[in-house]
């Protein structure tokens, strides 16, 4: 799939993460919707560019990273310096979607789906073999999005994973 085939949402512009000046918006978006308190540390540590969506203001974002390693248990975090080395050494690249948030009034218009679609495409282009994420068991809409729309598989049940005592599923998409 080339870039021109990627989904778009009318009236919404997708932009790449540029610098820390955008962190405040990212914090606001993830802070208001997600059950976990994510610090700016968490956001900043996700080094692969989060994408924010802007109309007149940021209304959604997805934050992700790529880990390098023989397997997930032995993965280092990606830096731009190490990416080429990793590809040359044929190491396993694993994508990770950390946070996805869309403001409530803009939901159900395909923004979240478009964001995920873009990052999956980007990670695939960068050589990832799989992409993983965790989502709350009770978050049915998120489960539907990842499983039905993109083919993520449930890999593991994580009991009492969240601070609110919620269980989570670790999902993984095995890229072709």
């Amino acid at each position: 799939m080339n870039r021109s085939n990627l989904p778009t949402v009318k009236g919404i512009k997708l932009i790449d993460y540029v610098d820390e000046s955008q962190l405040e918006d990212v914090m606001r978006l993830v802070g208001q919707d997600l059950s976990e308190p994510y610090s700016s540390l968490s956001c900043a540590s996700l080094q692969s560019p989060p994408k924010t969506i802007r109309s007149s203001k940021p209304i959604g974002c997805v934050a992700c990273e790529i880990d390098i390693g023989e397997d997930d248990n032995n993965a280092d975090q990606l830096t731009s310096k190490t990416l080429n080395d990793a590809i040359i050494q044929k190491k396993v690249l694993t994508g990770y979607i950390g946070m996805l948030a869309v403001e409530i009034p803009y939901r159900r218009s395909g923004i979240g789906s478009a964001l995920v679609h873009h990052v999956i495409h980007r990670m695939k282009e960068m050589g990832c073999t799989s992409i993983r994420l965790e989502t709350e068991v009770s978050n049915k809409s998120a489960m539907r999005l990842y499983e039905d729309r993109f083919g993520f598989m449930r890999e593991e049940l994580l009991v009492k994973y969240y601070l609110n005592w919620g269980d989570a599923y670790r999902l993984r998409l095995w890229l072709d």
């Binding site: 610090s39 700016s40 993109f150 609110n164 095995w174």
Partner: protein
């Protein structure tokens, strides 16, 4: 600034600045030994870490010192020497920026009391905490008189959100409450609510459902539990003098007596809670159980030792009420708390019996509570202290104590039902705001008393960068239910196993059953009201840890059996392995570790068991299979056997491997990892294959076992016949017949054999072969269950195919395969099995072929579905014939029938009935969809 804040110091800017530069999260607080003192060294700074904010590497030390020397504050900002450059940890520094996030640090004090937030707001957790204005936490007390007598709740809404306040005082002093404790429900300082809340906090820490709350969030908030306070209580009660007096020297009446008795009860409860929590934590940590991170984190206030070295001997000399307890292997602290319980209970009993006017129900409830603490502590300590010499005795005692504890909890529950009639207790889920007395005037006093006792805003060290999980405090009835379940688990999940599991097969079955029972069993029979008290994933971490600790110790399995012998017996039992192979110690020793790990996996939560199987067990069994093949080859060469001889070692290892694989797929289904019909179809199809392989391997091994038995029997018969012939010839050649006088029982039997017809001999042989051991009977039940599962899995695959054929199932979305494919999903799902040489991993093409029924017409397909379930039902009927209800009197032998409560069988009647239900298409509402398809089709 409004009146309540006149003693507060505004240090917001300073805090922010310090935090943004470098705030050590590892040691954020240090005590105020001397307000003006500057620490001389890092050691001084970190010796006792409660109390004072430590800020390192300040640029603006002037402001800090100004704050530190302010006489309006008890909080000091100590600085290190200006020459010291503290290392900057980027993570700490960045996390410190989040200091003001109420969700990151839950021990901050809301300016607006929580109980003034309306219910609507409370529902929105995020909003509630975002809207709260907070200031940093209070300092923990160091003794009963530490702190002030002011209210712990600051009542004002005028504070600005931009200002952070540091309370002048540490927590409110406990001394006034200590000196006014009462045993009467009418008093505002009645002891019972306090003790029940302490128990509630303990349950939040270790309870069945919410077990794993952090100690910081539960126990550290109980101010009476802090070390200094406990030591102070011990000194004020003069416990050593009391122990020497035998603990029974109290006057008969008067307010002082009531106070003393209440103080002892509070001391016993508090110390008991601490000791129980410490013991539980030690057990979980010693067991090093897989990923129990909730118990791995900080125990904030260290070991609380009431006995100094010079007092340890004194404790060891203490006589307990029950002299047998001196052998229980307690350490000095354990002995001390046991003695404290004895003294407190005897004082309460004596006070109750000698005063007719006392509130008997309340005192009775306190006694029951203390007794249950003591009994619970004894149970877990006994199971923690077993060794090779005492394992049976201690397990029996632990079983007795666990039953006793459950009975005590039951009595406590009914006793509290009476006490609650006085409106003594009411809880809103927070430990700090509890207590509603019948008299509204006293309600506020009671709230102050309990608020002073439980301070959720007491300062405790933060746990690294991670925010900590909120504790959940349950209503007292749920607390008692939850603890009762936990204690009864100790009986069936630990004691019963230690006392009854005498073979590897039985141990495996018992652990496997326990794992299932821990989450409600295969057929949940839990009443809806109690459902919350049960875990979704297994038995409580305490039981699992104790089981794991006692699985192998003192170089023996369960501290009683030689593991090598046990494995050898199991190989003979299951694989009919010859003695020469079993005596090959090297091979059996090689088997020990992976087999031990299979047992260990059964002690984990079910979701963790699955991960452990993937990461540890399957790779281990992959290597083991290769070695088993080599062992078989060597055995054949050494004994000059035919190459077609049964590969005993390989069969045994493959059987164990298949069990693991089958359980792995089964757990995946149970944990919801196969959510859609197309996922389930794959899982059931694979499981059917594994179960078929398992049943086949077992059948093959059973045949070998029977053949061997037959051979041995025939050899025996031939030998006996020869002996008889020889004896007959000998008697004929002798001059005088002496056979008459020696014709006893044995010779009669021999004559029967020799004189019987070939048909009789055949029937005797069959009879001899069919005589099986009790364990073989248990294995047969197990494999019958497996065959039922196989039929159900096969039926499910066909049923899904039939439903799909009838277009009753929604097709998977096409977008699913945008970045992946069905084949890739299948391969990755079962990729872990590729590590195993046998059975070879099934491919996606095989699945497609095996589950493609497009060539079969609908009627035939449904008929085959019915056939599968009907076959399953036939096996179910056979199981019901041999497993009888537990109230039935079983007259037959252990190799013919078993009772439902038999410890060694792998299925219960109710579970069989559930299988019968699922096997009986059209008879259950759950199978309405099948009925529908049948109706459509026919």
């Amino acid at each position: 600034m409004s009146a309540p804040y006149k003693d507060l110091l505004d240090i917001t800017d300073l805090l922010r600045e310090c935090a943004s530069q470098c705030l050590s999260y590892s040691h954020p607080f240090t005590p105020s030994h001397d307000d003006a003192a500057q620490p001389d060294s890092v050691d001084d700074l970190t010796r006792d870490l409660d109390g004072l904010l430590t800020v390192t590497s300040l640029k603006n030390t002037g402001d800090a010192k100004a704050a530190a020397t302010s006489d309006t504050s008890h909080e000091l900002l100590a600085t290190r020497g200006s020459n010291t450059v503290a290392p900057v940890d980027l993570r700490d520094a960045m996390s410190a920026l989040e200091l003001g996030d109420k969700r990151m640090d839950c021990c901050e004090i809301p300016i607006k009391p929580l109980n003034t937030i309306d219910a609507k707001e409370k529902k929105d957790y995020t909003k509630m905490y975002d809207d709260l204005i907070t200031h940093p936490p209070r300092i923990a007390p160091k003794n009963l008189s530490d702190g002030t007598t002011s209210s712990p709740v600051i009542k004002s809404d005028n504070a600005s959100s931009e200002v952070t306040h540091v309370a002048k005082s540490p927590c409110p002093s406990l001394l006034p409450y200590w000196n006014t404790l009462s045993l009467s429900a009418d008093s505002s300082t009645c002891l019972l609510p306090l003790l029940l809340l302490q128990f509630t906090a303990l349950e939040a820490y270790i309870g069945t459902n919410s077990g794993g709350s952090n100690a910081s969030e539960t126990l550290f908030c109980m101010l009476w539990c802090h070390e200094g306070v406990l030591v102070d209580m011990a000194q004020r009660l003069d416990i050593w003098a009391e122990f020497n007096d035998g603990g029974k020297t109290i006057a008969n009446s008067g307010p002082d007596v009531e106070l003393t008795v209440a103080q002892w009860a509070l001391f016993a409860s508090t110390l008991g809670i601490v000791r129980i929590a410490e013991a539980v934590r030690s057990i979980v940590r010693d067991a090093d159980i897989y990923e129990e991170e909730d118990f791995g984190v900080e125990w904030d206030w260290g070991e609380m030792k009431l006995c100094h070295q010079e007092e340890v001997d004194k404790v060891n000399d203490l006589n307990t009420e029950d002299p047998t307890r001196s052998d229980f292997g307690f350490n000095a602290e354990g002995r001390l708390v046991d003695r404290v319980w004895d003294v407190a209970i005897s004082k309460l009993e004596e006070y109750k019996s000698s005063n007719s006017s006392v509130d008997r129900e309340t005192i009775e409830a306190i006694v029951l509570l203390l007794r249950s603490h003591q009994s619970f502590y004894l149970t877990i300590q006994l199971l923690y202290n077993v060794n090779e010499g005492n394992v049976v005795k201690f397990s029996e005692l632990a079983k007795k104590f666990s039953r006793e504890t459950v009975a005590l909890f039951k009595s406590l529950q009914s006793c509290l039902a009476n006490v609650a009639k006085h409106d003594l207790l009411a809880s809103d889920g927070q430990l700090c705001t509890v207590g509603l007395l019948s008299s509204p005037d006293k309600n506020e006093e009671c709230s102050l008393f309990l608020g002073a006792s439980f301070d959720p805003f007491v300062n405790r060290r933060l746990l690294g960068n991670a925010p900590i999980r909120k504790a959940r405090f349950n209503p007292i009835n749920s607390v008692i239910n939850s603890m009762s379940i936990l204690v009864s688990e100790l009986e069936w999940a630990v004691c019963d196993v230690l006392l009854n599991a005498d073979t590897f097969g039985r141990l495996t079955r018992m652990l496997s059953n326990n794992s299932l029972r821990g989450c409600g069993g295969a057929v949940p029979t839990i009443p809806k009201s109690d459902a919350e008290a049960y875990s979704q994933v297994g038995i409580n971490v305490l039981s699992r840890s104790l089981m794991l600790l006692n699985l192998y110790f003192d170089d023996k399995l369960l501290g009683q059996y030689d593991f090598v012998d046990i494995i050898g017996q199991n190989m003979v039992q299951l694989a009919a392995a010859p003695g020469a192979m079993v005596e090959s110690i090297g091979w059996i020793v090689r088997l020990s570790k992976p087999l031990y790990d299979t047992l260990k996996a059964l002690c984990f939560d079910r979701h963790r068991e699955r991960s452990f199987t993937e990461s540890v067990l399957i790779p281990a069994f992959g290597s083991l299979q290769v070695e088993a093949a080599a062992v078989d080859e060597m055995f054949r060469e050494a004994n000059d056997l035919d190459p077609a001889t049964t590969p005993y070692a390989t069969n045994y290892v493959i059987m164990q491997t298949l069990r693991l694989m089958e359980r792995h797929v089964g757990l995946g289904i149970e944990l919801g990892l196969y959510p859609h019909w197309y996922d389930l179809s794959q899982a059931f199809w694979y499981r059917d294959y594994l179960l078929t392989a398992l049943v086949n391997v077992h059948g093959a091994m059973e045949r070998v076992r029977i053949e061997r038995k037959l051979m041995e029997h025939q050899m025996k018969l031939e030998q006996e016949e020869e002996e008889k012939k020889y004896a007959h010839e000998h008697s004929c050649t002798s001059k005088k017949g002496g056979s008459k006088k020696k014709k006893g029982k044995k010779s009669r039997a021999l004559s029967t054999l020799t004189t019987s017809s070939p048909r009789d001999r055949e029937s005797l042989t069959i009879e001899a072969i069919s005589m099986i051991s009790p364990e073989s009977f248990e294995d047969r039940i197990d494999f019958t269950v497996k065959s039922v599962h196989r039929y159900v899995c096969r039926g499910m695959v066909r049923l899904i195919a039939a439903l799909h054929q009838a277009k009753l199932l929604k097709e998977p979305p096409t977008t699913m395969t945008l970045f992946t494919s069905e084949k890739r999903r299948f391969e990755k799902r079962f990729e872990v099995f590729s590590m195993l040489p046998h059975p070879s991993r099934l491919t996606f093409e095989e699945y497609k072929m095996g589950s493609d029924f497009s060539a079969v017409n609908r009627e035939d397909l449904i008929a085959s579905v019915k056939e599968c379930f009907r076959a399953g039902k036939a096996s179910v009927d056979r199981l019901l014939e041999v497993i009888l209800p537990s109230d039935t009197e079983v007259t037959s032998s252990m190799t013919e029938q078993r009772k439902d409560d038999d410890l060694y069988i792998s299925i219960r009647r109710e579970e069989i009935m559930a299988l019968a239900k699922s096997s009986h298409i059209g008879n259950s509402n759950r199978w309405w969809i099948c009925r529908r398809i049948i109706i459509i089709s026919l």
